[in-house]
Amino acid sequence: MAFLLGLLIWFIAIALAVPFVTQWWPLPDTITEHARQVDAQYNLTVWVTGVIFLIAQLALGYAVFKFGSNRPGRASHVRGNDRWELLWTTAATVLFIGLTFMGYTVWAEARFTEAATARPADDRLIVEVVGQQFVWNMRYAGRDGKFGPTDIKLMDDSIGNALGVDRDHADGKDDIIVPRMAVPVNREVELMLKSKDVLHNFFVPELRIKLDTVPGITGTLRFKADKTGTYEIVCSELCGLGHYKMRSFLDVMEPDAYEKWLVDQESFLE
C-alpha cells in the first residue's frame, strides 16, 4: 500500500511536469516582442514552480513509502523546527514575490499609456474594436484619421451600420467598418476596445494579450506584430449562447498589401 501510493504520487508528479517542461503541447506562436517576453516569464515560472512542485510531491511520496507503520519502534516526537519553518517561509517569499517583480514590466508595456512607455506614437494605427453578440466589428478612421460620431439610434445590423456611425458627418464618411482586422507588420497598433451589449473579451493567443470589452468603458491594448500571417481572434468572456463561435481574424500584412487592402475597403464605401 505504502509503496504503491508513494509510487503513484511520484508517477503523477512526473507525468504532469514532463509535458510542461518539454512543451509537448506548445504555446501558440509569438508574433510580438511582448509575446516573447511573456513566454520568457512563463518559462521562468515553469522552472521555479516546477522545482517547488517536484520537491513537494517527491518528498510526499517518499515520506509515504518510507515511514509506514510496519517499521520498528515509535514515531519520533518532533513538534516542529523553527529553522526549517524560517527556511521555507523565506524561500517561498523570495521566489514568489521575485517572480512578480520580474514580470511586472512585461505586463505594463501592453497596458500603460503612451507617456508611461515612451514609445513613439507618430505612426501608430488606431483601430476601434466593438464586440456584440456574437460578432466583432473593427472600425478604422479612414484617411482623415478621425473617427466619426456615433449614435445608438443609427445602429442597424441589417443596413451594415452595426456601430451607428453618422455617415453624414464629415469625419464619419470615410470610416471603414469590417468584420476582421488588418494591420501592417512592424507598426504600432492601438486598439480601443468597446462593447455594444454585454462583456466580451478580445483575445489573440499569438499576441499573448487579452482584455474585456466592457460596455460603457473604452479599454486600450497595444501591440506591434512582427510576423505576417492570419491569426484567430476569439472571445474569452462568456457572452451568451453563441460565445463559442464569436470569432474573427487578425491579418498582419506587408505595408503595401495593407495599403491595397485599405484602398479596396475605401472603394466599397462609394
Binding site: 501510493l5 504520487i9 508528479a13 509535458p19 510542461f20 503541447w25 506548445p26 511573456v38 516569464q41 512563463y42 515560472t45 521555479v48 514552480t49 517547488i52 513537494a56 510531491q57 510526499l60 509515504v64 515511514f67 509506514g68 519502534g73 515509535r74 514515531a75 519520533s76 516526537h77 518532533v78 513538534r79 516542529g80 517561509t89 517561498a92 517569499t93 514568489f96 517572480l99 512578480t100 514580470g103 511586472y104 512585461v106 505586463w107 453578440q133 445608438i152 441589417s158 476596445l193 455594444k196 451589449d197 454585454v198 483575445f203 499573448r208 494579450i209 487579452k210 482584455l211 474585456d212 466592457v214 460603457g216 476569439v234 462568456l238 457572452c239 451568451g240 460565445h243 463559442y244 470569432r247
Partner: protein, 596 residues
C-alpha cells in the same frame, strides 16, 4: 483512562420526543450537521451529473443521444444538446458545487457536528439559530433547483453571473431562471451568515476549562476562521445580489451602463457599471475559495497527525498560516479581474498580495510533509484521502503562481488552465477533505463502520481519476482553449493543437471517476444501514475530545460530564508514555506540560 470531568448542567434544550423535533426541525447540532451533509451529498450528485452532460457535449457536440431527448426535450431536441443548454448545465454545475457542496458540507456539515464536541460544549451557542441556518440553506437549494423547471430554464451566465448578461433578459433566452438563481444565492447568504455567527461565538465562549486557543485542534481553528470569512464575505454578496435583482425586476441600473443596444434593441438603462458587480462578487468570491478549502486543510492536518502518530509539525506556524490565509484572502480579489481593464497599478498590488498568500500555503504544505516525516503511518482510508489532499493541494496551488502574475494571466485568463487550477484546489482537494472527514468520523457519528475495502478502491480510482481529468486541462489552457465554449469546432487552432483528443481523454476519465463515486455512495448508505456496529469511543486512538464521549455521542454530547482539557491536541508518541497518544483530557501528569 484518567479522564477528569466536572458535572455541569448545561443543556438548555430538552431531549426531543417526536420524530419532527428529533430529525427534521432539530436544534441538535449533530442532527443539523448530518442534515447539511445529506444536502451536500444530494447536491454533489446533481452537480456531478451536470458535469457529465457538459463533458458529453464537448466531445460529441453533434451526436444524437436518444436518452437525452427523452430526459430533456427542450434542452436536447433530437438528442443533441443546444449551446444554451450546455451553458445552463455549466452555470448550475458551478453554482451547485460552490455553494451547495463546497460551502455546506465542510463547514455546516462537519463543522456543525464536530466543533461543539471538540471544544467540549453541549451544543452550539444558539441552537435555534443553527436550525434556521440549515432550513434557510435548504430553501436556497430548493430555489436553485426550481430554476431548472421554470420558463426559459436555468440561467446561462455562469456561476459568476456577470452583468449585463445576467441582468438583461434581452441578452439571453430570458425567463425566470436567473431571478431564482439570485434568490437562491441571497437565501444562501442569509443562512451562511447565521451559521457563521454560531461558529464564532461557540468557539470563543463555549470552550471547556483548560482548552486555550493554542490547544484547539487545527480543525476548530479552520472552522473558526472560515466562519469569520463567511461573516465578512456573505453580506457583500447578499447586497450585490439584491442590487442585481433590482436591475432585473425594478428597472434600476446598478450594473447596467447607458447606451446599450442588444440584438438591435435599445436598452433604456443608464448609469451603471458592470465592473462594480465584479468587485462586489469577487470581494465575496475570493474569501469563498478559502471558505471551501480551509476546513479541508484543518481536517488534513488533524488526520495526518493522528495516523502518523506524530504531533502536527509546527502547530503554531500552522495557526499563523491559517490566520494569514484568512486575512490575505480579503485583499486579493482583484486577481480575478486582471483582464477587466483595471489599472496596471492596482493589478500590481493585487498581484503582489496574491503571491504573498502563496507563502502561508507553502508553509502548510511543508508542515504537512514534516508531520509525516519520521512517523509510523497507518494507511487507513481517512489517511489515504488526506495524503491525496496534500498532493492535490500542491498541484492546484502551484498553478496559482502562474495565474497570480498578470503578465502570464493575460494569456491564461478564462482558459482551461484556470478551470484546471480551481477544480484541483477548491474542488477536488476540498472534496478529498470531505472524504477523509467522512471516513474518519463515520464510526463516531453513526456507531457503525464503513467498509474499508470499498473506501480504498474508491480512493485509488478517484485519486488517479481526478488527476486524469484535471491534469490535461492545463495543456488545453496552454494551447489557449477558452473556457465555457460549447464546442471546439468553430476555432481552427484548437483542433489543430489536439484539443479534441485531450477532451476525449478527459471525458473518458470523468466517466470512470464519476462511476467510482457511486461506490462511495453505496458504501455510505450500506454502512449506515448494515455496517458493523461499534461502540468503541476511540477506534483510531486519537486525542481530541470527540473521542472521549460515547459512540455515537449522547444528545448533549458528554451526558453532563464535560471533560477538562490538560493537553495540547496532538500529543502523539510522547516519550516515556506507555501508549503512543495522550488524550487532551488525560491527567496532567500523562505527559510533560508542553503547550505549543
Amino acid at each position: 483512562m484518567t479522564e477528569v470531568a466536572e458535572h455541569v448542567e448545561v443543556h438548555r434544550h430538552p431531549l426531543p420526543t417526536s420524530f419532527i423535533t428529533k430529525y427534521i426541525f432539530s436544534v441538535d447540532h449533530k442532527v443539523i450537521g448530518i442534515q447539511y451533509m445529506l444536502l451536500a451529498l444530494v447536491a454533489a450528485f446533481v452537480g456531478m451529473g451536470l458535469s457529465l452532460l457538459v463533458r458529453i457535449r464537448l466531445v460529441w457536440p453533434a451526436e444524437p443521444f436518444g436518452l437525452l431527448e427523452t430526459l430533456f426535450p427542450v434542452g436536447a431536441p433530437d438528442g443533441v444538446m443546444t449551446p444554451e443548454f450546455y451553458l445552463a448545465m455549466l452555470t448550475m454545475h458551478g453554482t451547485i458545487m460552490v455553494f451547495m457542496v463546497l460551502t455546506t458540507a465542510p463547514q455546516g456539515g462537519f463543522g456543525n457536528y464536530i466543533l461543539p464536541i471538540q471544544v467540549g460544549a453541549a451544543d452550539m451557542a444558539f441552537p435555534t439559530l443553527n436550525m434556521l441556518s440549515f432550513w434557510t440553506t435548504f430553501l436556497s437549494f430548493m430555489a436553485l433547483m426550481a430554476a431548472f423547471f421554470v420558463q426559459g430554464g436555468a440561467p446561462i451566465s455562469g456561476w459568476t453571473a456577470y452583468p449585463p448578461l445576467s441582468a438583461l433578459n434581452e441578452a439571453t433566452i430570458g425567463g425566470y431562471g436567473q431571478d431564482l438563481w439570485i434568490l437562491s444565492i441571497a437565501l444562501f447568504c442569509i443562512g451562511s451568515l447565521l451559521g457563521a455567527l454560531n461558529f464564532i461565538v461557540t468557539t470563543l465562549h463555549l470552550r471547556t476549562k483548560g482548552l486555550t486557543m493554542m490547544r484547539l485542534p487545527l480543525t476548530v481553528w479552520t472552522w473558526f476562521v472560515t466562519a469569520i470569512l463567511g461573516l465578512l464575505a456573505f453580506g457583500v454578496l447578499l447586497s450585490a445580489g439584491a442590487l442585481l435583482l433590482m436591475d432585473r425586476m425594478a428597472g434600476t441600473s446598478f450594473f447596467i451602463p447607458g447606451g446599450l443596444v442588444v440584438n438591435d434593441v435599445i436598452i433604456d438603462h443608464t448609469g451603471g457599471s458592470p465592473i462594480l458587480w465584479q468587485h462586489l462578487f469577487w470581494f465575496f468570491g475570493h474569501p469563498e475559495v478559502y471558505i471551501a478549502i480551509l476546513p479541508g486543510m484543518g481536517v488534513t492536518s488533524h488526520i495526518l497527525s493522528t495516523f502518523s502518530r506524530k504531533p502536527v509539525f509546527g502547530y503554531k506556524a500552522m495557526v499563523y498560516a491559517i490566520l494569514a490565509i484568512g486575512g490575505l484572502g480579503f485583499v486579493v480579489w482583484g486577481h480575478h479581474m486582471f483582464v477587466s481593464g483595471m489599472s496596471p497599478y492596482s493589478a500590481f498590488v493585487f498581484s503582489i498580495l496574491t503571491m504573498v498568500i502563496g507563502v502561508p500555503s507553502a508553509i502548510k504544505t511543508f508542515n504537512w510533509i514534516g508531520t509525516l516525516w519520521g512517523g509510523r503511518i497507518r494507511f487507513a482510508s481517512p489517511m489515504l484521502y488526506s495524503i491525496g489532499f496534500v498532493s492535490l493541494f500542491v498541484t492546484g496551488g502551484i498553478s496559482g503562481i502562474f495565474l497570480g502574475q498578470p503578465t502570464i494571466d493575460l494569456f491564461f485568463h478564462d482558459t482551461y488552465f484556470v478551470v484546471a487550477h480551481f477544480h484541483l484546489i477548491m474542488g477536488v482537494a476540498a472534496i478529498f477533505g470531505m472524504f477523509s472527514g467522512m471516513t474518519f468520523w463515520f464510526p463516531k457519528m453513526f456507531g457503525r463502520l464503513m467498509n474499508e475495502g470499498l473506501n480504498k478502491v474508491h480512493f485509488w480510482i478517484t485519486f488517479a481519476g481526478v488527476y486524469a481529468i484535471f491534469g490535461p486541462m492545463h495543456y488545453l489552457g496552454i494551447i489557449a482553449h477558452p473556457r465555457r465554449y460549447a464546442e471546439t469546432t468553430s476555432v481552427d487552432y484548437l483542433a489543430a493543437a489536439g484539443a479534441n483528443e485531450l477532451h476525449y481523454f478527459i471525458t473518458i476519465a470523468a466517466m470512470v471517476t464519476i462511476a467510482a463515486q457511486f461506490l462511495f455512495l453505496f458504501n455510505f448508505v450500506w454502512s449506515l444501514l448494515k455496517g458493523k456496529v461499534t461502540t468503541d469511543p476511540n477506534p483510531w486512538e486519537a486525542t481530541t475530545l470527540e473521542w472521549v464521549t460515547s459512540t455515537p455521542p449522547a444528545h448533549d454530547n458528554f451526558e453532563g460530564k464535560i471533560p477538562i482539557v490538560n493537553h495540547g491536541p496532538y500529543e502523539f508518541s510522547v516519550p516515556g508514555n506507555e501508549r503512543d497518544f495522550v488524550m487532551q483530557c488525560n491527567a496532567p501528569d500523562a505527559a510533560p506540560a508542553q503547550d505549543h
